[in-house]
Amino acid sequence: MQCEEVRNYFADQLIGALDASSEPALLQHLAGCEACRTEFDGLRNTWSQLQVIPVPEPDSAAMYEKIVTTFYQSTNRAHPEIAPGTVRRFNMRQAAKPLGLIAASIIAVVAATVFFSRCGVTLGCPVNHSENTGPAVASKAGPAEPVHMRGADTATVTLTEYGDYECPPCSHYQLIVTRLLQEFPDRLKLEWHHFPLSTIHRNALLAAKAAEAAGDQDHYWEMHDLLFTSQPKWSRSTDAEREFIAMANQIGLDGNLFIASLHSSRTEQRVLADAARGRDLRINGTPTFFINGRRVDSLPGDFEAFAKLIAAAANQN
């Protein structure tokens, strides 16, 4: 085997894809040819070194928020008369038919704009229906637990949210919900329920338990907020528990009590009971909202659209 021929095998050998019939010949040549061996060793060394170049962690929640915001801004501009959440499901194929003679690129842009502005897009984390969201529990909700509420006790509008702390869209809506509570201080309260999507979010269940554990020391909402603001950090962690303990320290919790609560079966049962309620309600993605018990089928894309829904509910009371 000549040097030129051998070098054709380098790329395959680097990724371990060289076929079994060629590898012995390559290795034999490398053993006897110092030039090729030196070159290959150098390439392999650089190839290995490339893998250790670190990459920063993207701000997933902020990226998702921007996608949703940009998307809704564009669709709202196209059809400002259509309020999100108030229109029927729209069949994309039917919409595209009349546009059949227009150039393909224009069809795609126009049809997508029409569809998304009319159907009310729900850009949330989907539930994987083939798997449980955690260890098996009874399909019926467990014993009643105190629900997590924030906002005025006398509020006439209850916004119920089923959410997942590791879900970027939930983080996006956390900002909106926080603004809503400020905008309607006397008329709105939030009721939060856990719905950790453990099949796609590896730290989601533990995060929900961390919030519950903080709640045992009457700091539920501090941890709730901190979980969302620091989501990019802990969501990719292989040792999320350490992150949560650090967060507990940050908000002044007793570390030993927090760890004990985090690992208690009662804490887990509270989370799983919430998830079971969600399944009973046929939750198909996070976040899912209910306004005074009525499901919000199409997630409002921005604060203004959500505020209109809340205001409408408040005016009905």
């Binding site: 395959d12 190839w47 990459v55 997933s60 996608i67």
Partner: protein, 193 residues
């Protein structure tokens, strides 16, 4: 059983847009890594990832049942990246090194070597950098890269080899080590300290 990317994308195309988040979950980090290796800039990379997902939504009607989602998505990513580089040419050059990322376990020497390699990677021509990034960081098979770049598999292997060789030469040059001989001609590598 978990839905494949193709199944999810077809569902999104058919109106199940709540499934879009699953695609974002699965692919935004690999895409971010791709753009970060190509641009060396975190903020720009995040913007480019957003643009890819916006185009996925915008052009989802162009996705067909016989398409491969990852290839389709990276085709969009390449277009987005080309638009970015085109706009950059009229502004300023790429950074000479990737923005620093904390690597707490690395020794000083390893850190320096890694930083040099980052600089060398960014110094490569776009075409060579891209094929290396796809093969090494995105862990794409050569056949997948060939389909994406619309070239033969053999050509991909040649490009990877040449790109890696050039990367090593740039890296060694930056390290102060200069391979001085033509190995093909002399059959050996000599170095000057």
């Amino acid at each position: 059983m978990e839905l494949t990317d193709n199944e999810v994308m077809l569902a999104v195309k058919d109106g199940a847009t709540d499934q879009f988040a699953l695609l974002f979950e699965r692919h935004h980090r690999p895409l971010f890594n791709f753009f970060y290796r190509m641009t060396g800039q975190r903020s720009a990379s995040e913007d480019l990832v957003q643009e890819v997902f916006l185009r996925i939504l915008k052009y989802r009607e162009t996705f067909h049942a016989d398409s491969q989602f990852r290839g389709w998505m990276y085709q969009i990513a390449r277009n987005v990246r080309m638009d970015y580089f085109r706009s950059r040419r009229s502004e300023d050059e790429l950074p000479s090194a990737l923005e620093p990322v904390r690597a707490p376990t690395s020794s000083l020497e390893v850190k320096e070597q890694t930083a040099l390699l980052e600089r060398a990677l960014l110094a490569l021509p776009e075409e060579k950098r891209e094929v290396l990034v796809l093969a090494r960081f995105q862990e794409m098979k050569y056949a997948e890269i060939a389909a994406l770049l619309n070239i033969e598999v053999g050509a991909v292997k040649v490009r990877v080899h040449r790109a890696l060789k050039e990367l090593r030469e740039v890296f060694l040059k930056m390290s102060g080590e200069k391979p001085i001989c033509n190995a093909k001609k002399f059959g050996i590598i000599l170095r000057i300290n």
